[in-house]
Symmetry: D3
Subunit: 158 residues, 6 copies
């Protein structure tokens, strides 16, 4: 569903949380095949028994893909994704963990170099069934302003 | 294959590049199903025709998973992944694009709060067949030092 | 997202339509593998050239799974699915067709044998990019009544 | 394998049953990704523990796709699928259940509006390992008659 | 379907052929992910353009899995697979090729070391749409004899 | 990674072994769907309980695809695969088994009919977590000679 939301409409501190999804052995096998990452941390149950973490753990790129995917509900046609900062994996994800993503509007700043746009940061935290954070990142959105400021310069960046 | 490499062994400026992989419609359909992100940008060819980008484009989380996955060759038992900074998607990835990942050792810093470890940054750039950067990120590794410094404090961070 | 809706809240004639999804060769190959139906209508491009329909066509069970899946957005905790009537496939679905599902509340009837429940029929039509109906069915929901009628009998049926 | 069978060849009461297939967590994860239906009934093991059914259950559309797929063995070039009536799901399907499909020729009627064709109903019941019916439907086939009746009208229907 | 067939029932020279299956880009991507073989011959369309074969080609292990899978129709409870000899890939398989498998009973020999069993060789040839052989192998079956010979020794082999 | 190796560089008796991969229920379900082989040995847990092997076992073609895939690391641009001899499956592979592939250079012979090439045999054995051989085969490679012999005849064979 499309839900149009301008820069002015984002409220710092607004929080919502997704429904849950249990991570399965299937997800790990599918992700290995999709990404090409067959490291034994994800694929070799015997080797994992000899390691501190004791059992197969999810790929970080998978927790990211599923965590972000769970929060892909409504589409805001006024926004586009600029990138992510400070992507961290504070705790491992194991087979059988159930994840949800908590989204918090954590920052809003005008974007002087891009007339008519503002920068919104949505902090996304993926939580497991014990409410522990297993993934943290700051998703940067560029969002149209309802009333565009006077343009004044060119942008340049990665 | 395991190839042991200590903090001291990483050389700033060292660059290597992976073999290539062509992104297919299959990858996009599989990633939608894996991540649960069915946004029309990835799934609706008719709608995409009405947009500036003109055709279905890859999920950012997929370019990340495949780009990082392509660089998952040798395993360094002396290192673990700490996270990623400044993940950006400067250009869209389209069906039929062929991607490779270029890995550059771009920074090394001691990690005073984690005795025996140093921080290594590998800049990872995913390139298409025209050598354009489609994904940029800074992968942060924590790597064992061959000669551990004197420990002196506790760590705290995300 | 959960959106609670009682029997009384359904309005005959209410219509909504999903976003679109382009059917790919991948979907057909995945569905064959998932269902175990490898009939040449779906799998053998050479044989299909000799047939009136001229090219591979989607499995009916796939159009059903995807068509219903596209309409699985909000969850109504007051309703459960009872079944489907009159499932029909008026036109074939081909690789490259873009489908959307149109949902119409088409009937509401009390359910005397199931105290506190009413029967709601949602007609679901899957449309292609030319707005032609490729799948038609009547989805029967059992929905809680806000004010439960006096119970009076046991239920029995398939 | 093709096995040609005309309308006259179908015998009311003829029954056959397929080999079995165990429903796995993989099937459910694959079906969620294929259909786009990530309802917590199928995906969230923690939430399911709080519900009467107690554990993740299969999508109805998956039981249908696999149940019908299991019965897709011989191809009858004299018949085509017209649709399904009274599709019902009397009992839930759980991970680890083993399903088979029982096919019974349950009705045959001439099809006056479609010269040369007759309507055959195959009742398809999907059974679990305790021989309980988990899916019931009436599959309607249009089958060529060996001796075509005199044509007399046009057809019209969905 | 089970069809019981004893050693004595196999007839040298008996031939049958399967229905066809078109090899898709999806099959190659799925096989790479399933097997972990991401060689550029299968995955890198740009590199393939610089090679004599000019385009991505199927994995040999995939042609084998699909070619043998297509011939897995009837189950003979009197036989088990002993292995394969002389597995060859005379021509490459490309995306869009349509394959069928031709099965020929090519040899029968008593198996003196395994009382009650005989060895049957089914030559399996996978053909493309131009009837060219793309895979050749000799499938060795051990099959029960209807009348078991007098046992006389132990078996030993790989 | 490419590592160029001529016929002369192969050393009889050279052995290496891959990292491990645990075979999952997912692999079996995916392989059934990929190959089209739904035999109850792989798919029907209830039936398997009544058989000597007691539980679902992997498809031979899957153990082959994964076993060979695990050994697909470095690419030798001087070699191509000619085929496989004596493919055997001495023990079943069960869900939860962890496999590795051991590769031994077991034979080298000049190839008089193919000037400039030599034949190298790599014996590939797939081992489970108890170091039992579950798959044995002889992989035949055609490898360029560093110093090509005088050409003298045409080749012919399958």
């Amino acid at each position: 569903m499309e839900v149009s939301q301008f820069f002015e409409d984002y409220e710092i501190g607004h929080v919502w949380i997704t429904t849950g999804r249990t991570i399965t052995e299937t997800d790990i096998v599918v992700h290995a095949g999709h990404s090409g990452d067959y490291y034994p941390h994800h694929m070799d149950a015997e080797w994992c028994k000899t390691q501190p973490f004791g059992q197969r753990i999810a790929h970080g790129t998978m927790t990211f893909a599923i965590g972000i995917g769970m929060s892909a509900g409504e589409i805001n046609p006024r926004a586009f994704s600029y990138g992510y900062d400070r992507l961290r994996f504070p705790r491992p994800v194991r087979i059988g963990d159930t994840l949800r993503t908590r989204v918090t509007v954590s920052a809003k700043t005008p974007e002087p170099k891009r007339p008519g746009l503002g920068r919104v940061v949505e902090t996304k935290e993926v939580l497991n069934q014990r409410d522990e954070v297993v993934l943290y990142c700051e998703h940067i959105l560029m969002v149209e302003c309802r009333e565009a400021p006077v343009p004044n310069s060119d942008s340049e960046d990665i």
